[in-house]
C-alpha cells in the first residue's frame, strides 16, 4: 500500500462513534478507489496523487495564535486537526457537543446520522471515514435560534510532514436557526496535510448560514462538506479561498426532501503558485427545490483557479429552479482559470441555467478612472471590488466582509 496508508494504519485511533464494520469497509473501499489523477474527471485539474507517497510523521499539537479571529461565546479550536477543549467553549443552552471518540449509541445519537456520514465517494473521504480520530458531533437544538455564531478554528503549525483526518458532524435539529464560521488560518509555514470532512444535516425547517474562510500560509488542504437537506430547510454557504498553497474544497449538497433552498456563494483568488480548486455538486432529487450558485474567481501570477459546479436534477424532481454563475478575471499571462459548470437534467418541468465568463479588467473603465485622477492601482482595486461586491454583500458579518475586502486589496498590491 501507499506510504500514507501505512502511516495512518500505524496510528492509534479513538473513534467510537463509527463502528469497526464501517471503518473496515471504508478501508476496503479506499483500496479499490482510483487515485485522484488528471484522468479522473473529478480531479481533472488537480492531480493529488503525490500526497499518497510522502513519508509522514506524528506531530505534537502546540498552540499558536492564528491570523484572524472572531469573538464569539461559541468556539471550537482544532490545532493540527485535534480538538483543544481548553481553548474551546460554548453555550450549553444552544449547542450540544459530543467528541467522536465517544460511543454514539451511548450518547443517544441516532445511528442514521452516523450511517449517512459514511462518505466513500473518493479516496480522501474513504480515508477519512476509515481513519478519522478527531472531530466532534455538534447539535443545534430544536426550534432554537443561536444567539452567537459557532466559530470553528483550524490552526496548523506542524513543522514536520504529517497527515490528519478530522471528521465533524453538524446536526441542525428541526426549526433551528444557526450560523457557523469556519476559519482556516495560521501564521507560519505548515507541513500538515489536512483532510477534513464535515457532514451537515439541516433538518425540517432549519436553516444554517455557513462561512468557510481560508487564509493560511503554505498548506495542503482537502476540505469536504456533505450537506443533507430536509423539507423546507435552508442552507447558505460562503466560501472564500484567499490564501493557502493547495486547496481543494468539495461541497456536495443532497436534497433529501422537497422545498429545500440552497445558496452557494464563493470567491477564490490564487496568486504566486497557489492552486485553488472548488468542486460543487447539488443533487436535486426532490420537487420544488431551489439552488442559487454564484462564484467569482480572480487569478494572478502563476495562480490556478478552478470552478466545477454540477447541478443534477433527477427524474421526477419537477419544479426545480437552479441557477449557476461563475465569472472570472485573469490578471496575468501565466495565471489559469478552469471553469466547468455542468447541468445534468432528467426532469422536464424545470428552469435551469448556467453562465460562465472569463475575461480581464475592462481597459476603458480603467482609463476612465485614470483620466479622473485615480491611480492605476487604485482604479484596479476599485474595479475588482465592484466585481466582487455582490458576493461580499451576502456576508452577514461585517468583520468578515471587511477582512475579505482588505485581504483582496492586499493581494492586488
Amino acid at each position: 500500500m501507499d506510504s500514507l496508508y501505512n502511516f495512518l494504519i500505524s496510528k492509534k485511533s479513538e473513534n467510537l462513534a463509527f463502528s469497526s464494520t464501517i471503518r473496515e469497509n471504508a478501508i476496503e473501499t479506499y483500496k479499490k478507489l482510483p487515485l485522484p489523477v488528471k484522468k479522473q474527471e473529478d480531479w481533472k485539474y488537480s492531480d493529488l496523487s503525490n500526497l499518497f507517497d510522502i513519508e509522514y510523521n506524528e506531530v505534537a499539537n502546540n498552540f499558536e495564535t492564528n491570523l484572524f479571529k472572531i469573538e464569539s461565546k461559541n468556539k471550537l479550536v482544532f490545532i493540527n486537526g485535534c480538538l483543544k477543549s481548553e481553548l474551546s467553549n460554548f453555550n450549553n443552552k444552544d449547542i450540544e457537543i459530543i467528541p467522536i471518540s465517544e460511543n454514539a449509541v451511548a450518547t443517544n445519537l441516532s445511528i442514521e446520522y452516523i450511517n449517512k456520514s459514511n462518505n466513500l465517494d473518493n479516496k480522501f473521504s474513504a480515508l477519512n471515514t476509515a481513519f478519522a480520530n478527531n472531530g466532534v458531533i455538534i447539535k443545534f437544538k430544536k426550534n432554537n435560534a443561536l444567539s452567537e455564531p459557532l466559530v470553528i478554528e483550524y490552526i496548523n503549525n506542524s513543522k514536520v510532514a504529517t497527515f490528519e483526518n478530522t471528521k465533524n458532524i453538524i446536526i441542525a435539529e428541526e426549526g433551528s436557526v444557526s450560523e457557523v464560521i469556519e476559519i482556516h488560518s495560521n501564521k507560519d509555514l505548515c507541513m500538515l496535510t489536512s483532510n477534513i470532512v464535515t457532514n451537515i444535516f439541516v433538518n425540517e425547517n432549519a436553516s444554517i448560514d455557513y462561512t468557510i474562510l481560508q487564509t493560511e500560509k503554505e498548506c495542503v488542504k482537502i476540505n469536504s462538506h456533505y450537506v443533507h437537506q430536509y423539507k423546507n430547510s435552508k442552507f447558505t454557504a460562503h466560501t472564500f479561498q484567499l490564501d493557502g498553497n493547495l486547496i481543494r474544497n468539495n461541497l456536495i449538497i443532497n436534497h433529501e426532501n422537497t422545498h429545500c433552498e440552497t445558496s452557494l456563494n464563493g470567491i477564490f483568488f490564487p496568486i504566486a503558485n497557489q492552486h485553488f480548486d472548488n468542486f460543487t455538486i447539488v443533487n436535486h432529487t426532490n420537487e420544488h427545490c431551489t439552488t442559487n450558485e454564484n462564484y467569482r474567481g480572480l487569478a494572478n501570477d502563476s495562480g490556478v483557479g478552478i470552478f466545477t459546479g454540477k447541478i443534477f436534477v433527477a427524474k421526477g424532481a419537477q419544479k426545480t429552479l437552479a441557477q449557476q454563475s461563475n465569472k472570472n478575471i485573469v490578471l496575468s499571462n501565466k495565471a489559469k482559470i478552469h471553469s466547468k459548470p455542468q447541468l445534468e437534467i432528467y426532469a422536464d418541468d424545470v428552469s435551469c441555467s448556467h453562465g460562465s465568463t472569463t475575461g480581464q479588467i475592462d481597459k476603458d473603465a480603467l482609463f476612465y478612472c485614470q483620466s479622473r485622477g485615480i491611480s492605476k492601482q487604485d482604479a484596479l482595486k476599485l474595479l475588482i471590488n465592484a466585481f466582487l461586491v455582490t458576493n461580499i454583500r451576502l456576508i452577514k458579518h461585517k468583520e468578515i466582509a471587511t477582512f475579505v475586502e482588505e485581504k483582496i486589496n492586499l493581494k492586488l498590491a
Binding site: 474527471e41 427524474k315 421526477g316 419537477q318 472570472n328 485573469v330 490578471l331 496575468s332 499571462n333 501565466k334 495565471a335 489559469k336 482559470i337 478552469h338 471553469s339 466547468k340 459548470p341 455542468q342 447541468l343 445534468e344 437534467i345 432528467y346 426532469a347 422536464d348 418541468d349 424545470v350 428552469s351 435551469c352 441555467s353 448556467h354 453562465g355 460562465s356 465568463t357 472569463t358 475575461g359 480581464q360
Partner: protein
C-alpha cells in the same frame, strides 16, 4: 384538443420514414479485425505502399488503446471482431452516364429525394454519392477540374495526388488521436477528397451523401478538405440509413485545413436510423471532425443538424492557429425514444485575435438523452482571443434528459470567454398565448420549436435548409409540421 400526453405518444409512434433496404449486391470481407484484414482492404483498394504502412501503424496503435468511458452514454461496446470492415457494390462503378448505374441505386436515391439528374440541373450541386463504401457517381467533376478544384473519392486521390495525401493525411487528426479515429485510420474504406487551389472560390456547394446499406458493415469514411490561400468552399454532408435490427457502427474522420485567408463551410445533416421505440437497433455514430485554421485570417464554420443515430458521439472542432482566424459552430440535435447524443465542439485558440462562436440547441423527446460537451481553450499565445458560447436545451416529456458539460480553460489575461446555457420546457404561457390567437396546441409547439432552432437553420445553405426542416418535422411528427 390533444393533451400533452397524446402528442408525445403520437411523436413516439412515428415510424422511421426513410427505412428501406435496396437490394444491391455487395462484396463484403468476412467479419473480423486483424493485420491481414487491414492488408486485404489496402490490397482491394490497390493502394500504394505508404498508405498500407500508415494503416498498419494505426492498427498497431489501436491494439494498445482502450474503449473510452467518459461520455454520458449507456452503450454496449461493439464486438469489433464481428464486424465486416469493407463492403462495396459488386458492379464496380465506372460509369460515364447515369443510365449505366444499377437502377436499384437510383431508386434508393429517389426515395431519399436526391435525384442526381435533377439536382445537377436545378440545384447546381455536385454530388459525390457514397453507397456503402465506394463512390458511385461523381458529377460536375469535369467542370470543377477546369478551375483546378479537385473533388473526388479518397481512393482516387490516393492514386492521383499521393503528395497531397502524404502531406495532409492525419495532420489534423493523427491516428493516435482517439480510439475510433485510430480504428478508422486502420480500416477506412473510402471518403471524399477536396482541394481548392489558391484564390479560387468554388462555384457550387459540394456535397456527399453517405449511406450505410449492407448489414453488419461498419462504415469508416474519411474526408479531407484543403483550402489553399484565399479560397472558399462550402461542403455539405447528408446521411440517411435503412432500418436494421443490429447496431451498426459508423466511425468517420473529417479533416479540414484552411491556409491564409481561406474559408471552409462544412454543413451536415445526419438522419441515420435511430432504432425503434424500444431502443432496439440503430446506428452507433462515433465521428471525429476537426479543422485547423492554419493560416492568418482563415475561417472554418461547422453547421450540423443531428436527428438520427441511436448513439451520437461527435465534436466538430477547430484549432485556431493562424492570427485573426475565426470559427463558428452551429448545431441542432434532436433526440427521441431511446436515442442518446453526446455532442458539442472544441475551440482551441492559439493565434492572436482569434474568434469563435458556439450556438448549440438540443431538443429531447421520449426517453432520450441529449448532452452538450464543449471545450474552449485559450492558450497563452492567444492574445485578445474571444469566444461566445450559448447552449439551450428544450425538454418535451418528463422522461428525457438534457445535459450541459462545458469546459473552459483560460491561460491568458487578454482573452474573453463567455458561456451561457439554459434548460427548460416549453412554457405553458407561450402555448396559451398561441391558443388565444387561434393556433392549435400542435401548431404552437411546432412554431416554438422552429423558432428555437431558427438561429441554426438559418446558417445552412439553401439546398440543405429545406431538407433539414423536413428532417426536424419527421423527428417530431405529430406535433411539429
Amino acid at each position: 384538443m390533444n393533451t400533452d400526453q397524446d402528442i408525445i405518444q403520437e411523436i413516439q409512434n412515428t415510424d422511421y420514414k426513410y427505412g428501406f433496404t435496396s437490394d444491391i449486391e455487395t462484396d463484403i470481407i468476412a467479419p473480423g479485425l486483424n493485420e491481414d484484414i487491414v492488408r486485404q482492404i489496402s490490397k482491394m483498394k490497390n493502394e500504394p505502399e505508404f498508405m498500407l504502412e500508415w494503416r498498419l501503424k494505426a492498427f498497431e496503435h489501436w491494439k494498445t488503446m482502450e474503449h473510452p468511458k467518459w461520455a454520458n452514454i449507456n452503450m454496449e461496446i461493439p464486438h469489433f471482431q464481428d464486424i465486416s470492415y469493407y463492403a462495396q457494390p459488386r458492379n464496380k462503378p465506372k460509369y460515364d452516364s447515369l443510365d449505366e448505374v444499377d437502377p436499384e441505386i437510383l431508386k434508393t436515391f429517389q426515395k431519399l429525394g436526391i435525384p442526381l439528374e435533377e439536382q445537377k440541373i436545378l440545384a447546381g450541386v455536385a454530388v459525390d454519392a457514397v453507397i456503402d463504401s465506394v463512390s458511385i457517381h461523381t458529377s460536375f467533376k469535369s467542370q470543377l477540374k477546369e478551375m483546378g478544384i479537385i473533388f473526388c473519392s479518397f481512393s482516387e486521390a490516393v492514386h492521383e495526388y499521393p503528395e497531397l495525401i502524404k502531406n495532409y493525411l492525419g495532420s489534423v487528426v493523427p491516428y493516435t488521436d482517439n480510439f475510433y479515429a485510430c480504428l478508422n485510420s486502420a480500416v477506412f474504406s473510402d471518403g471524399s477528397f477536396v482541394y481548392i487551389p489558391k484564390n479560387t472560390r468554388c462555384p457550387m456547394e459540394l456535397s456527399t451523401y453517405f449511406r450505410i446499406n449492407a448489414t453488419n458493415t461498419g462504415q469508416f469514411e474519411r474526408t479531407l478538405i484543403i483550402a489553399e490561400e484565399g479560397s472558399y468552399v462550402s461542403y455539405l454532408e447528408g446521411c440517411t440509413a435503412p432500418m436494421r435490427d443490429e447496431n451498426q457502427l459508423h466511425a468517420a474522420v473529417v479533416e479540414l485545413i484552411t491556409l491564409n485567408n481561406a474559408e471552409i463551410k462544412y454543413s451536415t445533416v445526419q438522419n441515420w436510423y435511430p432504432g425503434d421505440k424500444e431502443g432496439k437497433g440503430g446506428i452507433y455514430n462515433f465521428v471525429t471532425k476537426r479543422g485547423i485554421c492554419k493560416g492568418n485570417n482563415s475561417k472554418i464554420s461547422w453547421t450540423q443538424i443531428e436527428t438520427g443515430s441511436a448513439l451520437t458521439w461527435k465534436y466538430p472542432s477547430t484549432i485556431l492557429k493562424g492570427d485573426n482566424s475565426s470559427s463558428e459552430f452551429y448545431s441542432v440535435a434532436v433526440t427521441n425514444n431511446h436515442q442518446q447524443a453526446d455532442t458539442g465542439t472544441k475551440m482551441i485558440h492559439i493565434g492572436k485575435n482569434t474568434k469563435s462562436t458556439i450556438v448549440s440547441k438540443g431538443i429531447s423527446l421520449g426517453k432520450s438523452n441529449n448532452s452538450y460537451r464543449g471545450l474552449v481553450r485559450m492558450a497563452k499565445t492567444a492574445e485578445n482571443a474571444r469566444n461566445f458560447s450559448q447552449c439551450d436545451s428544450l425538454l418535451i416529456g418528463s422522461q428525457c434528459g438534457a445535459h450541459t458539460f462545458p469546459y473552459i480553460d483560460v491561460q491568458n489575461n487578454t482573452a474573453i470567454v463567455e458561456h451561457e446555457a439554459t434548460t427548460s420546457k416549453i412554457a405553458d404561457d407561450q402555448i396559451f398565448y398561441c391558443n388565444q390567437r387561434g393556433i392549435s396546441k400542435e401548431d404552437a409547439i411546432s412554431l416554438i420549436v422552429n423558432g428555437f432552432a431558427k438561429e441554426v437553420l438559418n446558417k445552412l445553405p439553401m439546398e440543405f435548409a429545406i431538407e433539414a426542416q423536413k428532417l426536424l418535422a419527421i423527428s417530431m411528427e405529430g406535433s411539429v409540421g
